[in-house]
Structures are given as C-alpha cells and as structure tokens.
C-alpha cells in the first residue's frame, strides 16, 4: 500500500515537474514573441517619426496597445525557472536586481498609458516615443545580453 502511494506520489511529482518545466519554456517563448511584436510595432512608429510613412492615428493606437500588453504581462514573464533558458537574451542581472527591474517595468507601463491618453498627432508621437524609447533602452542596456 505504502509502495503504491509512493509510486503515485513519484509519478505526480514527475508530472508536475514536467508541466512546470514546459510552462517555463512557454513563458520564455511568450516573452520573446511579445518583445518581437513590440519591435515590429516600434518600427511602424519610428518610420512615421522619420517621415518615411505618413502619420496614422489608428496605427499609432495599435502600436501603443501592443506596448501596453507588453507592459502588463512583463512582471509575470521572468520567473526564477527561466533564468538559464536556452535562446534567451535575458541577462542573469535581472534576477540579481529584481527591484530595479520591476521599477523599470512599472515606468514603462506608466509611459505607455500616458502615451495612449495623450498622443494625438506626430509631435505627440515623437514625445511619447522619446520617453518609451528611453524605457526600452534602460532595460536593454542593463538586462539584456546578446548570447550569439
């Protein structure tokens, strides 16, 4: 009886570990695809600022909506289990400076919210992207490390 119980517990534990590991992998993939989309959206915005494409308020709102999703999901996307993830450019510095990292994420969320509320024209977009760009840079400089 005890042996059966132990066996059951072992299988359960294995299953949980497997499930946890898989979800950790998924988390890394999710954050990578969110960042990638933010990059593509960022390109849309910066091409408007550079005058390569005409200013489009609808597109601008799309860009900020993508950033806002990024900002709201981010605090959950860097769990401890993802520290040594393969293919990830997240630096171990994140987990060594978790407070700083969270502060930067919060600032990003605030700046995006402000951008959503206040951006009406090209000048507004320039100002918003200045602030948001600074947030991107701030995290990327300290917490992103190219591995290949």
């Amino acid at each position: 009886m005890v042996r059966k119980l132990l066996a059951a517990l072992a299988i359960l534990a294995l299953g949980m570990t497997a499930a946890a590991a898989q979800s950790c992998d998924d988390i890394v993939k999710t954050r990578q695809s969110l960042m990638k989309r933010s990059g593509e959206m960022g390109k849309v915005a910066s091409s408007m600022i550079k005058g390569e494409t005409p200013f489009d308020l609808a597109k601008t709102k799309e860009v900020f909506a993508a950033f806002a999703e990024d900002a709201s999901s981010m605090p959950t996307l860097f769990p401890d289990c993802s520290k040594n993830a393969e293919h990830s450019n997240a630096s171990p510095a994140i987990w060594e400076n978790l407070d700083d990292f969270k502060k930067l994420m919060a600032k990003f969320a605030t700046d995006v919210k402000e951008a959503q509320e206040n951006t009406k024209d090209l000048d507004g977009l320039k100002a918003s992207l200045d602030a948001i760009g600074k947030d991107c840079r701030g995290c990327h400089e300290r917490f992103r490390i190219k591995k290949s």
């Binding site: 910066s46 040594n84 993830a85 393969e86 990327h140």
Partner: protein, 322 residues
C-alpha cells in the same frame, strides 16, 4: 676553472645579455615636444573627437544608472574585467594631482600614439592606443585642449588588479613588439572623401574593432577577423559581426542592414527590425548620437564596405536545466 663552472659562467653571461636585449627592446617610446609643430587648438573638434573616441564611456565617474553619468567628470574608477584581471580606469580630468593636469601636450600625444605614460611607463593596452595611434596629430591635440576645459576631479583611482605575469608593465613592451604596429591613418585616394572620413573615424578614434573583433590568448585582435565579432572582453556577452557577413545575413527576427539603417542606428539605437539594442552598444550610441549626421553617414558607408569575414562561432547554447 672547472668545466661546470665555465658552463655556469657562460649561462650567466648569456642571461645578462638576454636581459639587456629585452630591456632595450621594450623601452617605452615617447613623442618629444620638439616633434610638435605650432598648432592652434580647435576645442569644438576636440569635443567631436571626445565623442567618437568614447572617452567618457570609460573615464567618466561611473553610476549604476548609465543615464545619470556626467560625461564631463573624468574621475575614472570604472572596473573593466578581462581575462588578465580587473583594470580600474584612471582619472584623466585636468586635476593636477589625481588626473592629467600636469601633463604636457607631448605627454598626451605620447599616450595615444605610443601607449606610454607621462612617467615613461607602458600603458596597458586595455587603453586602446592600438586604435588611437591612427589619429591625426591635430585631432589628438584638439582632444587634449577639450579635456582641459572640463572640471578637475580629485581622487586618484586604485591600481589595477592583474594576475601575474600580466601585471608586469615592462612585458607590455614585448606585447607591443608583437602587436603594436601602424601609425597615423593614410587615406585611400581611390575612395570618396566620405569613405575616408568613415575609415578614419572607425579605425582611429572610434576604435570599433576593439569590441567587434575576436582576440588571441594574449589579448591582441586577430587581424584576419577584424570586425567579425567575438566574445566580449568581460566574457559575458557576444559582440556581433559587423562585416557584411553579419549585417547582410541577419539572424532570426532581424533584417539586413542598409548604410542608411546603420547611420540611423548610430543615432537612436533602433535596428532595422525595430529592436532597441541592448548591452554595451547602448553606451556607444550615447556617443555617436552626438556626432554630426555626416559623420554617422561616413561611418555607416565605411562599415557597409568592409570585406565580408566569418568570425568565431559563439559558444554552444546551454542545455536547459530541468
């Protein structure tokens, strides 16, 4: 004298002779003041050299928040980890005691052109004089004039913590014999003025290859793979290949770079894929965004024209831990 004693005497004589040869061969070279013709400093040009040279990135007083660094306070102190130990970047503010306030112009030229200090010792090549040696004399002197307009910062920086035998300065003389060649930049008359300006900025003050190239076990750039990327000096990240072998063969999620993309990137740090660059390159862009658009375009034109080179392979990815 017995045969054995004769051998020892011979060996001792040889050792003394070898030491003498070594001592002479590794004598630090200097540029005397008499070698400097009259020159009216152009402080504005000096500021440009200061920006493209990236002097503040190493020599400014460090701050945990890189956006809060004051570029005009060159009190040093930044720790640079390397395979040879940790270098502590010196104070080069115009402070008389702690910085270079007592240096003459010739001292400064000697440092950038010969890698020799004002006290006649070799500088360690963590200071990239292998690149700065290509700078024109006028630009070096203008840079000195600009630095002298900045505020003095007191406080000498601690000595480097290097592992034996890399802490022996005289041995740098040997390193220089092997790896320190060149001299001022010579333009290529078959290329445009813009290309030559770019080549000068990149290979001289910009010292881009110093990060973007792999190094051998003695810390010298592997010439055949210059600009082809490699492990960063502190061993933590991978610096990309910026020859067309890298820039035109983008990895996942990236897009091939045009010269316009490169110039624009040096202004705002945004890659052609819309990504915001991270790591040490952010600090470079803090400098290059202060240049003129023409200079950024020149740098871009030169980088885009580099011969394609394959660089070293990045280390294999870590296995995912369960």
């Amino acid at each position: 004298m017995t045969g054995g004693a004769r051998v020892w005497k011979g060996a001792a004589a040889f050792a003394v002779a070898a030491l003498a040869v070594f001592w002479i061969a590794t004598t630090p070279e200097t540029v005397p003041a008499s070698a400097l013709p009259p020159h009216t400093p152009d402080v504005a040009n000096g500021r440009t050299m200061f920006n493209i040279g990236g002097c503040a990135s190493c020599h400014a007083l460090p701050n945990k928040d890189p956006d809060k660094v004051d570029r005009t306070l060159l009190g040093g102190g930044l720790a640079l980890k390397s395979p040879f130990g940790t270098f502590y970047v010196p104070n080069i503010s115009p402070d008389l005691l702690a910085g270079i306030g007592a240096w003459s112009e010739a001292d400064f030229v000697t440092a950038l052109w010969r890698g020799t200090s004002a006290s006649g010792e070799h500088h360690f090549p963590a200071f990239p004089y292998t690149s700065y040696q290509h700078m024109e004399l006028g630009d070096v002197r203008d840079l000195f004039a600009y630095i002298r307009t900045l505020p003095p910062v007191s406080g000498r920086v601690r000595a480097h913590e290097l592992t034996f035998p890399f802490n022996i300065r005289r041995l740098v003389g040997l390193w220089k014999l092997l790896f320190f060649h060149g001299g001022p930049f010579t333009p290529d008359p078959s290329r445009s003025a813009q290309w030559n300006r770019g080549a000068y900025l990149v290979n001289g003050p910009g010292h881009c290859a110093d990060c973007h190239s792999p190094r051998n076990f003695l810390g010298a750039i592997i010439d055949g793979q210059r600009f082809a990327g490699g492990l960063s000096v502190d061993g933590k990240g991978w610096v990309p290949n910026i020859t067309p072998a890298g820039l035109q063969h983008p990895g996942e999620g990236e897009i091939a770079w045009s010269p316009r993309d490169i110039a624009s990137f040096l202004d705002d740090g945004i890659t052609p894929a819309g990504d915001f660059v991270g790591g040490a390159m952010v600090e470079v862009i803090r400098n290059t965004r202060l240049l003129s658009a023409e200079d950024r375009a020149a740098i871009a034109a030169y980088i885009a024209s580099l011969p394609p080179r394959q660089g070293p392979k990045p280390p294999p990815k870590k296995n995912q831990s369960m």
